[in-house]
Protein backbone atom coordinates (compact mmCIF):
# COMPACT_ATOMS: atom_id res chain seq x y z
CA UNK A 1 0.00 0.00 0.00
CA UNK A 2 1.39 3.44 -0.88
CA UNK A 3 1.23 6.56 1.25
CA UNK A 4 -1.63 7.91 -0.84
CA UNK A 5 -3.83 4.96 0.13
CA UNK A 6 -3.58 5.43 3.90
CA UNK A 7 -5.33 8.37 5.47
CA UNK A 8 -3.36 10.74 7.64
CA UNK A 9 -6.30 11.07 9.99
CA UNK A 10 -8.72 8.46 11.27
CA UNK A 11 -12.46 8.82 10.74
CA UNK A 12 -13.02 9.10 14.49
CA UNK A 13 -10.45 11.87 14.82
CA UNK A 14 -11.99 13.69 11.85
CA UNK A 15 -15.46 13.49 13.38
CA UNK A 16 -14.00 14.73 16.66
CA UNK A 17 -12.30 17.63 14.83
CA UNK A 18 -15.55 18.62 13.12
CA UNK A 19 -17.31 18.43 16.46
CA UNK A 20 -14.72 20.72 18.13
CA UNK A 21 -14.99 23.18 15.26
CA UNK A 22 -18.77 23.17 15.37
CA UNK A 23 -18.59 23.86 19.12
CA UNK A 24 -16.07 26.66 18.57
CA UNK A 25 -13.52 24.78 20.70
CA UNK A 26 -10.56 26.15 18.73
CA UNK A 27 -7.92 25.00 21.18
CA UNK A 28 -8.93 21.33 21.07
CA UNK A 29 -9.32 21.45 17.27
CA UNK A 30 -5.80 22.89 16.88
CA UNK A 31 -4.44 20.21 19.20
CA UNK A 32 -5.75 17.51 16.91
CA UNK A 33 -4.19 19.15 13.83
CA UNK A 34 -0.80 19.55 15.54
CA UNK A 35 -0.94 15.90 16.56
CA UNK A 36 -1.45 14.85 12.95
CA UNK A 37 1.35 17.08 11.66
CA UNK A 38 3.80 15.75 14.22
CA UNK A 39 3.09 12.17 13.22
CA UNK A 40 3.98 12.80 9.54
CA UNK A 41 7.04 14.94 10.27
CA UNK A 42 8.35 12.23 12.59
CA UNK A 43 8.24 9.83 9.65
CA UNK A 44 10.04 12.39 7.49
CA UNK A 45 12.77 12.88 10.09
CA UNK A 46 13.17 9.11 10.37
CA UNK A 47 13.64 8.85 6.63
CA UNK A 48 16.15 11.72 6.43
CA UNK A 49 18.01 10.17 9.35
CA UNK A 50 18.20 6.77 7.64
CA UNK A 51 19.44 8.31 4.39
CA UNK A 52 22.08 10.35 6.21
CA UNK A 53 23.32 7.24 7.99
CA UNK A 54 23.41 5.33 4.69
CA UNK A 55 25.32 8.13 2.98
CA UNK A 56 27.77 8.27 5.86
CA UNK A 57 28.30 4.49 5.80
CA UNK A 58 28.76 4.47 2.05
CA UNK A 59 31.32 7.25 2.22
CA UNK A 60 33.17 5.39 4.97
CA UNK A 61 33.06 2.22 2.86
CA UNK A 62 34.55 4.05 -0.08
CA UNK A 63 37.24 5.50 2.14
CA UNK A 64 38.24 2.02 3.24
CA UNK A 65 37.84 0.29 -0.15
CA UNK A 66 41.52 -0.05 -1.04
CA UNK A 67 40.52 -1.16 -4.53
CA UNK A 68 39.37 2.37 -5.33
CA UNK A 69 42.64 3.80 -4.13
CA UNK A 70 44.67 1.38 -6.21
CA UNK A 71 42.45 2.08 -9.22
CA UNK A 72 43.14 5.78 -8.94
CA UNK A 73 46.82 5.72 -8.03
CA UNK A 74 48.10 2.67 -9.89
CA UNK A 75 45.79 1.17 -12.44
CA UNK A 76 44.63 4.30 -14.21
CA UNK A 77 48.18 5.57 -14.76
CA UNK A 78 49.09 2.01 -15.77
CA UNK A 79 46.22 1.92 -18.28
CA UNK A 80 47.33 5.25 -19.67
CA UNK A 81 50.83 3.88 -20.10
CA UNK A 82 49.45 0.79 -21.82
CA UNK A 83 47.45 2.85 -24.29
CA UNK A 84 50.52 4.96 -25.02
CA UNK A 85 52.44 1.75 -25.61
CA UNK A 86 49.73 0.68 -28.07
CA UNK A 87 50.17 3.92 -30.02
CA UNK A 88 53.93 3.40 -30.00
CA UNK A 89 53.67 -0.21 -31.19
CA UNK A 90 51.19 0.51 -33.97
CA UNK A 91 53.37 3.41 -35.07
CA UNK A 92 56.43 1.16 -35.17
CA UNK A 93 54.57 -1.58 -37.06
CA UNK A 94 53.22 0.85 -39.63
CA UNK A 95 56.69 2.30 -40.21
CA UNK A 96 58.33 -1.13 -40.39
CA UNK A 97 55.78 -2.15 -43.03
CA UNK A 98 56.14 1.04 -45.03
CA UNK A 99 59.95 0.87 -44.89
CA UNK A 100 59.82 -2.65 -46.32
CA UNK A 101 57.34 -1.63 -49.02
CA UNK A 102 59.51 1.35 -49.95
CA UNK A 103 62.51 -0.97 -50.24
CA UNK A 104 60.55 -3.38 -52.45
CA UNK A 105 59.33 -0.82 -54.96
CA UNK A 106 62.77 0.00 -56.49
CA UNK A 107 63.42 -3.73 -56.82
CA UNK A 108 60.20 -4.11 -58.81
CA UNK A 109 61.17 -1.07 -60.91
CA UNK A 110 64.66 -2.37 -61.64
CA UNK A 111 63.18 -5.76 -62.53
CA UNK A 112 60.95 -4.08 -65.05
CA UNK A 113 63.82 -1.93 -66.45
CA UNK A 114 66.00 -4.97 -67.04
CA UNK A 115 63.18 -6.81 -68.78
CA UNK A 116 62.74 -3.80 -71.07
CA UNK A 117 66.48 -3.91 -71.87
CA UNK A 118 66.43 -7.60 -72.75
CA UNK A 119 63.12 -7.55 -74.60
CA UNK A 120 64.18 -6.17 -78.08
CA UNK A 121 67.06 -8.66 -78.40
CA UNK A 122 64.87 -11.45 -77.12
CA UNK A 123 62.14 -10.69 -79.64
CA UNK A 124 64.68 -10.63 -82.47
CA UNK A 125 65.94 -14.01 -81.28
CA UNK A 126 62.42 -15.49 -81.22
CA UNK A 127 61.78 -14.28 -84.77
CA UNK A 128 65.23 -15.56 -85.88
CA UNK A 129 66.46 -12.09 -86.81
CA UNK A 130 69.45 -11.95 -84.50
CA UNK A 131 73.04 -11.71 -85.70
CA UNK A 132 75.90 -13.42 -83.86
CA UNK A 133 77.20 -10.17 -82.35
CA UNK A 134 73.73 -9.23 -81.16
CA UNK A 135 73.31 -12.73 -79.79
CA UNK A 136 76.45 -12.31 -77.72
CA UNK A 137 75.15 -8.98 -76.37
CA UNK A 138 71.84 -10.60 -75.52
CA UNK A 139 73.58 -13.42 -73.67
CA UNK A 140 75.56 -10.88 -71.62
CA UNK A 141 72.38 -8.94 -70.77
CA UNK A 142 70.53 -12.12 -69.82
CA UNK A 143 73.41 -13.31 -67.69
CA UNK A 144 73.45 -9.99 -65.78
CA UNK A 145 69.69 -10.14 -65.45
CA UNK A 146 69.77 -13.63 -63.96
CA UNK A 147 72.57 -12.81 -61.52
CA UNK A 148 70.82 -9.69 -60.24
CA UNK A 149 67.42 -11.42 -60.12
CA UNK A 150 68.69 -14.11 -57.75
CA UNK A 151 69.85 -11.41 -55.33
CA UNK A 152 66.69 -9.35 -55.77
CA UNK A 153 64.42 -12.34 -55.21
CA UNK A 154 66.23 -13.00 -51.97
CA UNK A 155 65.84 -9.35 -50.88
CA UNK A 156 62.15 -9.42 -51.79
CA UNK A 157 61.65 -12.51 -49.68
CA UNK A 158 63.36 -10.84 -46.72
CA UNK A 159 61.26 -7.70 -47.01
CA UNK A 160 58.09 -9.77 -47.26
CA UNK A 161 59.03 -11.66 -44.09
CA UNK A 162 59.67 -8.28 -42.44
CA UNK A 163 56.16 -7.15 -43.42
CA UNK A 164 54.74 -10.41 -42.08
CA UNK A 165 56.55 -10.09 -38.74
CA UNK A 166 55.51 -6.45 -38.35
CA UNK A 167 51.92 -7.67 -38.03
CA UNK A 168 52.70 -9.13 -34.58
CA UNK A 169 51.65 -5.76 -33.17
CA UNK A 170 48.03 -6.87 -33.48
CA UNK A 171 48.55 -9.64 -30.92
CA UNK A 172 50.71 -7.57 -28.55
CA UNK A 173 48.53 -4.46 -28.60
CA UNK A 174 45.41 -6.62 -28.43
CA UNK A 175 46.60 -8.10 -25.14
CA UNK A 176 47.25 -4.59 -23.81
CA UNK A 177 43.86 -3.27 -24.88
CA UNK A 178 42.09 -6.26 -23.33
CA UNK A 179 43.60 -5.35 -19.96
CA UNK A 180 42.37 -1.77 -20.28
CA UNK A 181 38.90 -3.04 -21.25
CA UNK A 182 38.84 -5.16 -18.06
CA UNK A 183 39.75 -2.10 -16.01
CA UNK A 184 37.05 0.03 -17.65
CA UNK A 185 34.56 -2.75 -16.98
CA UNK A 186 35.50 -2.84 -13.31
CA UNK A 187 35.10 0.92 -12.97
CA UNK A 188 31.74 0.65 -14.72
CA UNK A 189 30.58 -1.91 -12.14
CA UNK A 190 31.78 0.31 -9.28
CA UNK A 191 29.89 3.27 -10.73
CA UNK A 192 26.73 1.21 -11.08
CA UNK A 193 27.15 0.08 -7.46
CA UNK A 194 27.42 3.70 -6.38
CA UNK A 195 24.34 4.67 -8.35
CA UNK A 196 22.36 1.75 -6.96
CA UNK A 197 23.37 2.66 -3.45
CA UNK A 198 22.03 6.21 -3.75
CA UNK A 199 18.85 5.41 -5.63
CA UNK A 200 18.01 1.91 -4.53
CA UNK A 201 14.44 1.76 -5.72
CA UNK A 202 15.09 2.99 -9.25
CA UNK A 203 18.15 0.95 -10.08
CA UNK A 204 17.80 -2.20 -8.00
CA UNK A 205 15.89 -3.96 -10.72
CA UNK A 206 18.37 -3.11 -13.48
CA UNK A 207 21.69 -3.96 -11.79
CA UNK A 208 23.78 -4.31 -14.99
CA UNK A 209 25.92 -7.15 -16.23
CA UNK A 210 28.63 -8.61 -14.02
CA UNK A 211 32.16 -8.18 -15.32
CA UNK A 212 33.79 -11.18 -16.89
CA UNK A 213 36.92 -11.58 -14.84
CA UNK A 214 39.10 -14.38 -16.06
CA UNK A 215 39.69 -17.12 -13.55
CA UNK A 216 43.25 -18.14 -13.09
CA UNK A 217 43.59 -21.89 -13.30
CA UNK A 218 47.36 -22.10 -13.20
CA UNK A 219 49.29 -20.79 -10.23
CA UNK A 220 50.83 -17.85 -12.07
CA UNK A 221 48.78 -15.03 -13.46
CA UNK A 222 49.59 -14.13 -17.04
CA UNK A 223 50.49 -10.49 -17.51
CA UNK A 224 50.79 -9.90 -21.25
CA UNK A 225 53.49 -7.81 -22.93
CA UNK A 226 55.80 -5.98 -20.51
CA UNK A 227 56.26 -2.28 -21.24
CA UNK A 228 59.25 -1.47 -19.02
CA UNK A 229 61.20 -4.72 -18.97
CA UNK A 230 64.53 -2.99 -18.37
CA UNK A 231 63.26 -1.38 -15.15
CA UNK A 232 61.99 -4.63 -13.64
CA UNK A 233 63.97 -7.43 -12.11
CA UNK A 234 61.23 -10.06 -12.15
CA UNK A 235 60.98 -10.16 -15.94
CA UNK A 236 63.37 -11.07 -18.74
CA UNK A 237 64.42 -8.50 -21.31
CA UNK A 238 64.42 -10.22 -24.68
CA UNK A 239 65.21 -13.66 -26.06
CA UNK A 240 68.86 -13.68 -24.88
CA UNK A 241 67.69 -13.34 -21.27
CA UNK A 242 65.26 -16.23 -21.77
CA UNK A 243 68.01 -18.40 -23.22
CA UNK A 244 70.37 -17.56 -20.33
CA UNK A 245 67.71 -18.38 -17.76
CA UNK A 246 66.83 -21.67 -19.43
CA UNK A 247 70.44 -22.74 -19.79
CA UNK A 248 70.98 -21.94 -16.09
CA UNK A 249 68.19 -24.45 -15.47
CA UNK A 250 70.08 -27.07 -17.45
CA UNK A 251 68.24 -26.57 -20.74
Amino acid sequence: MTEQDTTLISLDKAKQLVEFLENDDVKSANNIITEIQNASSDALFDKVGALTRQLHNSLEDFKFDSRIESLATEEFPDARERLNYVIEMTDKAANRTMDAVEACLPIADSFNDRIQQVMPGWQSLMSRELGLGQFKDLCKLLDDFLQVSVKDADSLRQYLTEILMAQDFQDLTGQMIRRVINLVQEVEVKLVEMLTMFSETELASSAGAEPVIQEIVSGIESEGPIMNATERTDVVDGQDDVDDLLSSLGF
Binding site: T161, L164, M165, Q167, D168, Q170, D171, L172, G174, Q175, Q214, V217, S218, G219, I220, S222, E223, G224, P225, I226, A229, D234, V235, V236, D237, G238, Q239, D241, V242, L245, L246, L249, F251
Partner: protein
Protein backbone atom coordinates in the same frame (compact mmCIF):
# COMPACT_ATOMS: atom_id res chain seq x y z
CA UNK B 1 64.58 -31.72 -40.10
CA UNK B 2 61.59 -33.74 -41.20
CA UNK B 3 59.31 -31.20 -42.81
CA UNK B 4 56.23 -33.36 -43.27
CA UNK B 5 55.44 -33.44 -39.53
CA UNK B 6 51.99 -32.39 -38.34
CA UNK B 7 52.10 -29.18 -36.29
CA UNK B 8 49.38 -27.55 -34.16
CA UNK B 9 49.59 -23.76 -33.69
CA UNK B 10 47.69 -22.52 -30.59
CA UNK B 11 47.13 -18.77 -30.14
CA UNK B 12 43.99 -16.72 -29.48
CA UNK B 13 45.04 -14.04 -31.99
CA UNK B 14 44.48 -15.20 -35.56
CA UNK B 15 47.09 -12.70 -36.80
CA UNK B 16 49.76 -14.40 -34.72
CA UNK B 17 48.63 -17.87 -35.88
CA UNK B 18 48.95 -16.66 -39.45
CA UNK B 19 52.42 -15.23 -38.84
CA UNK B 20 53.64 -18.49 -37.32
CA UNK B 21 51.96 -20.54 -40.06
CA UNK B 22 53.72 -18.45 -42.72
CA UNK B 23 57.09 -18.67 -41.00
CA UNK B 24 56.74 -22.44 -40.68
CA UNK B 25 55.79 -22.69 -44.34
CA UNK B 26 58.91 -20.67 -45.16
CA UNK B 27 60.92 -23.30 -43.30
CA UNK B 28 59.23 -26.04 -45.30
CA UNK B 29 56.58 -27.13 -42.78
CA UNK B 30 53.31 -27.22 -44.68
CA UNK B 31 51.30 -29.59 -42.50
CA UNK B 32 50.04 -27.06 -39.93
CA UNK B 33 46.73 -26.71 -38.10
CA UNK B 34 45.35 -24.04 -35.78
CA UNK B 35 43.50 -23.78 -32.45
CA UNK B 36 42.54 -20.65 -30.50
CA UNK B 37 43.09 -21.91 -26.95
CA UNK B 38 43.91 -24.98 -24.86
CA UNK B 39 40.30 -26.16 -24.72
CA UNK B 40 40.13 -26.33 -28.52
CA UNK B 41 43.67 -27.69 -28.87
CA UNK B 42 43.44 -30.61 -26.45
CA UNK B 43 40.71 -32.61 -28.23
CA UNK B 44 42.45 -31.93 -31.56
CA UNK B 45 45.68 -33.34 -30.14
CA UNK B 46 43.90 -36.37 -28.69
CA UNK B 47 42.31 -37.25 -32.02
CA UNK B 48 44.89 -35.91 -34.40
CA UNK B 49 48.24 -37.68 -34.40
CA UNK B 50 50.20 -34.44 -34.02
CA UNK B 51 54.02 -34.34 -33.94
CA UNK B 52 54.60 -30.83 -32.62
CA UNK B 53 52.83 -28.03 -30.74
CA UNK B 54 53.54 -24.28 -30.87
CA UNK B 55 51.52 -22.49 -28.20
CA UNK B 56 50.93 -19.04 -26.69
CA UNK B 57 50.60 -18.70 -22.89
CA UNK B 58 47.97 -15.99 -22.29
CA UNK B 59 44.67 -17.17 -23.81
CA UNK B 60 41.05 -17.03 -22.67
CA UNK B 61 39.71 -20.45 -21.74
CA UNK B 62 42.65 -22.79 -21.17
CA UNK B 63 46.02 -21.03 -21.00
CA UNK B 64 49.11 -22.39 -22.74
CA UNK B 65 50.81 -23.43 -19.50
CA UNK B 66 47.80 -25.57 -18.57
CA UNK B 67 47.71 -27.06 -22.06
CA UNK B 68 51.38 -27.98 -21.63
CA UNK B 69 50.62 -29.67 -18.28
CA UNK B 70 47.67 -31.56 -19.79
CA UNK B 71 49.86 -32.78 -22.65
CA UNK B 72 52.57 -33.99 -20.26
CA UNK B 73 49.95 -35.74 -18.07
CA UNK B 74 48.46 -37.68 -21.00
CA UNK B 75 50.28 -40.90 -21.83
CA UNK B 76 49.33 -40.70 -25.48
CA UNK B 77 50.50 -37.10 -25.86
CA UNK B 78 53.37 -36.65 -23.41
CA UNK B 79 56.06 -37.28 -26.04
CA UNK B 80 54.97 -34.34 -28.24
CA UNK B 81 57.48 -31.46 -28.19
CA UNK B 82 55.94 -28.15 -27.11
CA UNK B 83 57.40 -24.78 -28.11
CA UNK B 84 56.02 -21.80 -26.24
CA UNK B 85 55.79 -18.49 -28.14
CA UNK B 86 54.52 -15.84 -25.76
CA UNK B 87 54.77 -12.28 -24.47
CA UNK B 88 54.84 -13.60 -20.89
CA UNK B 89 58.24 -12.52 -19.61
CA UNK B 90 58.29 -13.11 -15.85
CA UNK B 91 61.21 -15.24 -14.73
CA UNK B 92 58.95 -17.36 -12.55
CA UNK B 93 56.81 -18.08 -15.61
CA UNK B 94 59.74 -19.28 -17.67
CA UNK B 95 60.89 -21.46 -14.77
CA UNK B 96 57.34 -22.81 -14.38
CA UNK B 97 57.21 -23.65 -18.10
CA UNK B 98 60.61 -25.35 -17.94
CA UNK B 99 59.56 -27.39 -14.93
CA UNK B 100 56.34 -28.36 -16.68
CA UNK B 101 58.36 -29.83 -19.52
CA UNK B 102 58.41 -27.18 -22.23
CA UNK B 103 60.91 -27.86 -25.06
CA UNK B 104 61.56 -24.25 -26.03
CA UNK B 105 60.50 -20.73 -24.99
CA UNK B 106 60.35 -17.83 -27.43
CA UNK B 107 59.49 -14.37 -26.21
CA UNK B 108 57.32 -12.05 -28.32
CA UNK B 109 58.13 -10.00 -30.28
CA UNK B 110 60.40 -12.54 -31.96
CA UNK B 111 62.20 -12.91 -35.29
CA UNK B 112 61.97 -15.53 -38.02
CA UNK B 113 65.59 -16.46 -37.26
CA UNK B 114 64.78 -17.16 -33.59
CA UNK B 115 61.92 -19.48 -34.53
CA UNK B 116 64.16 -21.37 -36.95
CA UNK B 117 66.95 -21.67 -34.40
CA UNK B 118 64.68 -22.97 -31.61
CA UNK B 119 62.97 -25.47 -33.91
CA UNK B 120 66.32 -26.83 -35.09
CA UNK B 121 67.52 -27.13 -31.50
CA UNK B 122 64.42 -29.07 -30.47
CA UNK B 123 64.68 -31.46 -33.41
CA UNK B 124 68.39 -31.97 -32.76
CA UNK B 125 67.61 -33.08 -29.20
CA UNK B 126 64.82 -35.41 -30.22
CA UNK B 127 66.80 -37.29 -32.86
Amino acid sequence: MKTNIKILIVDDFSTMRRIIKNLLRDLGFNNTFEADDGNTALPMLKNGDYDFVVTDWNMPGMEGIDLLKEIRKDQALCHIPVLMVTAEAKREQIIEAAQSGVNGYIIKPFTAATLKEKLEKIFERIQ
